[in-house]
C-alpha cells in the first residue's frame, strides 16, 4: 500500500505552473494568456496547501485564500483592460499591437 508523499503534490504543482508558463510564452491570444496566468497561480496555491498539510498548520491554506482574492482582483482588472484594448486596436493578438514600435 503506497501512500501519497509531499513530493507528488509538489510535482503536480510544478507541472501546472510550467504549463501556465508555457501558455503565457507561446500563445498570442490575450484571453488565453490571462487564463495561463490563472493556471500558474493555481500551481503556486497547490504548493502552499501541500506544505501546509506537511507542516500541520493552516498558514499555507490562509495564504492560498489570499492568493484566490488576488486572482479575482487580477481577473477583474485584466479583463476590463483587455476589453478596453480590444476597443482600441480591434485585435487580441499581442503580436499585432505594434503602436509603440518604431
Amino acid at each position: 500500500m503506497m501512500g501519497v508523499e509531499l513530493s507528488y503534490y509538489l510535482l503536480l504543482a510544478f507541472v501546472l505552473f510550467a504549463l501556465g508558463l508555457v501558455g503565457v510564452m507561446i500563445r498570442r491570444n490575450l484571453i488565453i494568456m490571462l487564463m495561463s496566468v490563472e493556471l500558474m497561480l493555481n500551481g503556486a496555491n497547490l504548493a502552499l496547501v501541500a506544505y501546509s498539510r506537511a507542516r500541520g498548520d493552516m498558514d499555507g491554506q490562509v495564504l492560498a485564500f489570499f492568493v484566490m482574492g488576488l486572482a479575482a482582483a487580477e481577473a477583474a482588472v485584466g479583463l476590463a483592460l483587455l476589453i478596453g484594448v480590444y476597443r482600441h486596436v480591434k485585435t487580441l493578438d499581442v503580436d499585432k499591437m505594434t503602436t509603440l514600435k518604431g
Binding site: L10, M35, N42, A76
Partner: protein, 174 residues
C-alpha cells in the same frame, strides 16, 4: 486507495491544464480551465483543505471563470480569430526557463519534509474547516485579510472606470 484518488484528480487537473493552453477557441480553453480547477479542488480535499476546496469551486470555477466567459462572449467571434505562429525563439526561451525551474524544483523535492501524521495536525479535527481557517485568518493574518478587501475594492473601482471607456475614447478623439 489514497494514491488512486490522488492520481485520478491529478490526471483531471493536468489534462484540463494541457487543454487550456492548446485549444484555439478561447471558450473551450475557459471550460478546460474549469475542469482543471475542479480536479484541483479534489486534490485539496485529499490535503484536508475542505473549506479551500469548496471555495475553489465557488470562487474560482464559479465566479472567476464566469467573468472570463462574459469577457469572451462580449468580444464575440472576433476573439476567435486565427492566431499567427508565435516567434520560434519564444518557444525555445520557454524551454530554457522551464529547464531552469526544474533545477530549483529538484532542489525543493530533495529537501521536502514527510507529511505530518494525521494525529499530528494542529487542532486535529478543525484542520482545514471553516472554524479552523477563521481562527488563523482573523488572529494571525488579520492585517493581510483587511488589505485584500481594500485590494478588491480598488479592483472593482478600476474595472468600472476602465469599463466606462472614458480613457480609451479620449484617446481616439485625438
Amino acid at each position: 486507495m489514497e494514491l488512486a484518488v490522488f492520481a485520478v484528480f491529478a490526471l483531471i487537473a493536468v489534462v484540463g491544464a494541457v487543454a487550456t493552453i492548446s485549444w484555439r477557441n478561447p471558450i473551450r480553453s475557459a471550460l478546460s480551465l474549469v475542469i482543471c480547477l475542479f480536479g484541483l479542488a479534489g486534490i485539496y480535499v485529499t490535503l484536508y483543505a475542505h473549506f479551500l476546496a469548496a471555495m475553489q469551486i465557488l470562487v474560482y470555477a464559479g465566479a472567476i471563470m464566469v467573468l472570463f466567459a462574459f469577457a469572451i462572449m462580449m468580444l464575440g467571434a472576433e476573439a476567435l480569430e486565427r492566431e499567427a505562429k508565435g516567434f520560434p525563439w519564444l518557444q525555445v526561451l520557454s524551454g530554457v526557463v522551464i529547464a531552469l525551474l526544474v533545477g530549483k524544483f529538484v532542489k525543493a523535492l530533495w529537501s521536502s519534509p514527510p507529511l505530518a501524521g494525521e494525529q499530528a495536525l494542529v487542532d486535529g479535527e478543525t484542520f482545514g474547516t471553516v472554524s479552523g481557517i477563521a481562527q488563523v485568518m482573523m488572529k494571525q493574518f488579520l492585517l493581510p485579510f483587511e488589505l485584500i478587501s481594500v485590494l478588491l475594492l480598488v479592483a472593482v473601482v478600476v474595472a468600472v472606470m476602465v469599463g466606462k471607456n472614458r480613457f480609451f475614447r479620449e484617446e481616439e478623439k485625438r
